[in-house]
Each structure stands twice: as structure tokens, then as C-alpha cells.
Amino acid sequence: MNIPANLKYTKDHEWVSLDGDIATVGITAFAQSELGDIVYVEIETEGETIEAEEVFGSVEAVKTVSDLFMPIAGEIIEFNTELESNPELVNSDPYGKGWMIKVKVEDTSKASELLDAAGYAALIG
């Protein structure tokens, strides 16, 4: 399973890439593989400030729907609109074109509370 070493992770299977105070967030290769074919990514929270571990949207596979959780508190400044017409990008390129949101992080020091690649690998076994 692909778990890039340069990213941070949550126990809810989101990944975070921090650049200054801007975090890019998506779901992991493990998460997309567990969900199966993704058919809809619903994120209607652009412009909102959301606490860590609160729901910021949902991802729907053919068979299931899952909530998406904020890995770190901040304002959602952008949604990957490409996913509206091509939600399958989350399957084919979860760490790249399948990114979901960009967040202006309130307190970047909180990133240290996230899992590193080894911690996430241990979590998913």
C-alpha cells in the first residue's frame, strides 16, 4: 500500500500535505481501496472554518458513503472542482489529482499531532 513518507495522516484515513499554513487534504490509497469505485465527492463547506475531527464533506462509493473529517482546524479555502465531474480521480491518484480540499490552517503546530507514515502504516496493519 502506497503511504508517501512526506505526508501526515489521520486515523480516519485522510492525508495532509502542509506548505506554510496551507494544508492540502485528501484520502489515502488504503481508504480509496476499501471504499471501491468512488462516484461522488460532496464538499459544500468551502469558505467555512471547521474544527479538527469535524465533518467537512462526504465521499460516496457505489456501495457506501463515508464522512470526511478535518485533519486540522482551519478555513476551507478551496475544493478540487475537478472531482465534480471526475470523482474516480480519488481512486486513480489519491495523493495527486484526487486531492479534496485546501485549508488555511489556524495553528500549524497542531500538525505534530498527526500520524507520520510509519504511524499510519501501523494503524492499517
Binding site: 471501491g36 469505485d37 462516484v39 461522488y40 460532496e42 460516496e60 457505489v62 456501495k63
Partner: protein
């Protein structure tokens, strides 16, 4: 949990295995959308060995079936199959099933895996006619070979003329080197094809030969996830979702398999429902606004009042739109009625449509 005789094949193919009706079953191999498309456009194979099979034998076998089945089995000839359901004595449904007439004194019936024991007990309780009953469920495997190319792809394996078989008929023939195999032109996908009943000890050989014969047609293994999207695009009911012990066949739109030409369990009650009407009906709906309906989501009217519940829902892989089945109050059940599916606390617009969702 039980395994089918093909469990090692599924694991070797990289299937994701899940518990279903007490069996360890392949839910998907390469992915539900690709598998769905394979069945719609060419040919795919499902291991549905979890399904239950009973044989009823004796001079009064037909009489027993007439008692428990809603459909009139006296109208079918040897070699024909019929879809039916078993009312439960309280207006609900014990199970839906397929009844095969082997001859006037022998019938083969196929029931849902989750209901094998319940069905056996129910039929036994009505069997005061001395009909011999045999439960073959643990001895038989079932392969559903489905798709528009199924007949052509499988013809080299059998002496039965597959192209000429009429829907809902069956024949016994040699198949993949095994003699006396029951080949049935039935299925749960709406894309045509066959269901092949073979003994557990023969099924691995049959599976291998099916894949060899189908290789040039692009044959693929298909999991339960695609089985569900395929059946839902046709509007076929799934027991436990769309029908159960609390839904009547009349409410479920199964009036066409409820025949008052004979006596059967709940006939009087169901006849009254048909004449006087029911308060809710199972409808098919398609999303107008974006959203995917799911089992147990509430259905509301334009005023926000709850009028029913979704029983099955998915994103249709063929049509790329949310589709579903659900019970609504009769005044909302007419074609083109606008209804609202409660998705994450928002009413998303849908409309009542005619089945099937998927038209070739």
C-alpha cells in the same frame, strides 16, 4: 461462516471477500463499475453458490407448492421455471423464489441464502401432504453466467443449444465435461445468460472450463456488488431490502406473481388489498438533483413530511445517475411524482419512474 467450493479461486483472483448471509463471498474483483459493464456488454461469471436449493417430490408436490406460492405453478410445463413468492400468513413475505418444474411430480426450488432454514421450516409446516423434501443447498454450487455474449461464449462447453433457449426455461445436458447438469436461462441481471447448477465436487472444473471457453469473449469474474447494481438497474426486488416479512406482494408491485386463480396462504387478505388498494407502494425513482439514495434514507414530500423510506439505492453504473426503490404513501406513488430523498438532512429532488431503469 461457510465457504463456497470456489473460495480458493476467489482468493487467488484477488477478490475482496465479505460475509454475506452466513457465507464468505466475493464482493468485488477489479471494481464494481468495470464488472457491471462486463456483464452489460459481454459476459461475466458469478459464484452464487450460497443460494439454497430444495427438491420437492411426490404426487402431491404440486399441491404443496400451490399452497405456499403466490404464483400459479400449474400453468408451467416440464422444463419451465417460474418466479414466485411465499406469503407468510400475515400478509408479509417469507421469501421470493424460483420454481422449476422437472416433471409433474418433481420440482426444484431456489431460495435466498439468508432464508434457507426459515423457508425449509415454513414449507415443512405446510407439508401435511406427504411430499418428499430434500435440501440440496450444501451439496450444490451455482454459477450465474450472465451477459449478451453468454450463449456464444459457453456453446463449446455443452450439447444444449444455448442460443435457442427461451427465457425461464431449463434443460439437462453435458456442461464442461460434467453430465446431467441443469442449465437454466435465468438470472438476476437483465442482460441475459444462464444459471448452471453443479455438484460442489464438480464446480472447480466447471469454473476453469468456463473461463477457458470465455477467454476470447473477455469473460470476467463478477462480485456481489455488481450483482446488486445490475439487479437494481432492472428493478428486481432484493429480499431483506425491498421485500421482507412486513411487506405484502401487492405493496411490492408483485401483483403479477400473485394469482387468485387458486387457493394459497394469505390469498384472501391479498385479494382484498388488490381490490381495496394498499396504503403504500414500492416505487422506482431516479434522482433529478445530484445525490445517491441509500437503504433506509427517508423519503419526503415537497412540504417536508415523511412519506416513506428507501429500500435500495445506488449510483447507476450504466446511467451515472442515482436510482432507487422505496415505499411511499400511495398518493405519492404515481409516475412522475416529485419526491425528495433525505440525504444528510437535505431533501434532494427525485421523481417516480417506470421500471426498468436500464433499457438496452
Amino acid at each position: 461462516m461457510k465457504n463456497t467450493a470456489l473460495v480458493n479461486k476467489h482468493i487467488a483472483l484477488g477478490a475482496k471477500m465479505v460475509p454475506f448471509a452466513g457465507y464468505n463471498m466475493p464482493v468485488q474483483y477489479e471494481g464494481v463499475n468495470a464488472e457491471h459493464e462486463t456483464v452489460r456488454n459481454s459476459v461475466g461469471v458469478f459464484d452464487v453458490s450460497h443460494m439454497g436449493e430444495f427438491v420437492l417430490r411426490g404426487p402431491k408436490a404440486l399441491e404443496l407448492i400451490q399452497k405456499f406460492a403466490s404464483n400459479d405453478v400449474s400453468v408451467i410445463a416440464d422444463g419451465k421455471a417460474q418466479y414466485s413468492c411465499m406469503p407468510n400468513g400475515k400478509g408479509g413475505i417469507v421469501d421470493d423464489l424460483i420454481i422449476y418444474r422437472v416433471n409433474s411430480e418433481e420440482f426444484f426450488i431456489v431460495v435466498n441464502a439468508s432464508n434457507i432454514e426459515k423457508d425449509w421450516n415454513w414449507i415443512s409446516s405446510l407439508n401435511n401432504l406427504g411430499v418428499e423434501m430434500e435440501n440440496l443447498s450444501d451439496h450444490y454450487s451455482l454459477l450465474a453466467i450472465q451477459g449478451p455474449k453468454a450463449a456464444e461464449a459457453m456453446q463449446s462447453l455443452t450439447n444444449v443449444n444455448l442460443q435457442n433457449m427461451v427465457y425461464y426455461t431449463f434443460q439437462y445436458g453435458t456442461f464442461a465435461g460434467i453430465e446431467n447438469v441443469m442449465i437454466s436461462s435465468t438470472g438476476y441481471t437483465g442482460s441475459g445468460g444462464f444459471e448452471i447448477y453443479v455438484k460442489n465436487e464438480d464446480v472447480n472444473q466447471v469454473w476453469d472450463k468456463v473461463f477457458e471457453a470465455g477467454a476470447s469473449f473477455g469473460i470476467k469474474p463478477i462480485g456481489l456488488a455488481a450483482r446488486d447494481t445490475l439487479r437494481l438497474e432492472m428493478g428486481f426486488c432484493l429480499y431483506g431490502n425491498d421485500i421482507d416479512d412486513t411487506t405484502s406482494p401487492i405493496e411490492a408491485g408483485l401483483g403479477w406473481i400473485t394469482k387468485f386463480t387458486k387457493e394459497f396462504t394469505d390469498a384472501e387478505l391479498l385479494k382484498k388489498q388488490k381490490e381495496n388498494g394498499v396504503s403504500r407502494k414500492l416505487v422506482a425513482f431516479e434522482m433529478i438533483d445530484r445525490g445517491i439514495p441509500r437503504h433506509d434514507y427517508l423519503i419526503k414530500n415537497a412540504g417536508g413530511e415523511t412519506i416513506g423510506k428507501v429500500t435500495s439505492g445506488t449510483m447507476s453504473p450504466s446511467m451515472k445517475v442515482g436510482i432507487g426503490l422505496g415505499y411511499v404513501t400511495v398518493d405519492n406513488a404515481a409516475l412522475d411524482s416529485e419526491i425528495f430523498i433525505d440525504i444528510r438532512d437535505k431533501g434532494i429532488k427525485a421523481k417516480v419512474v417506470k421500471l426498468p431503469f436500464y433499457k438496452k
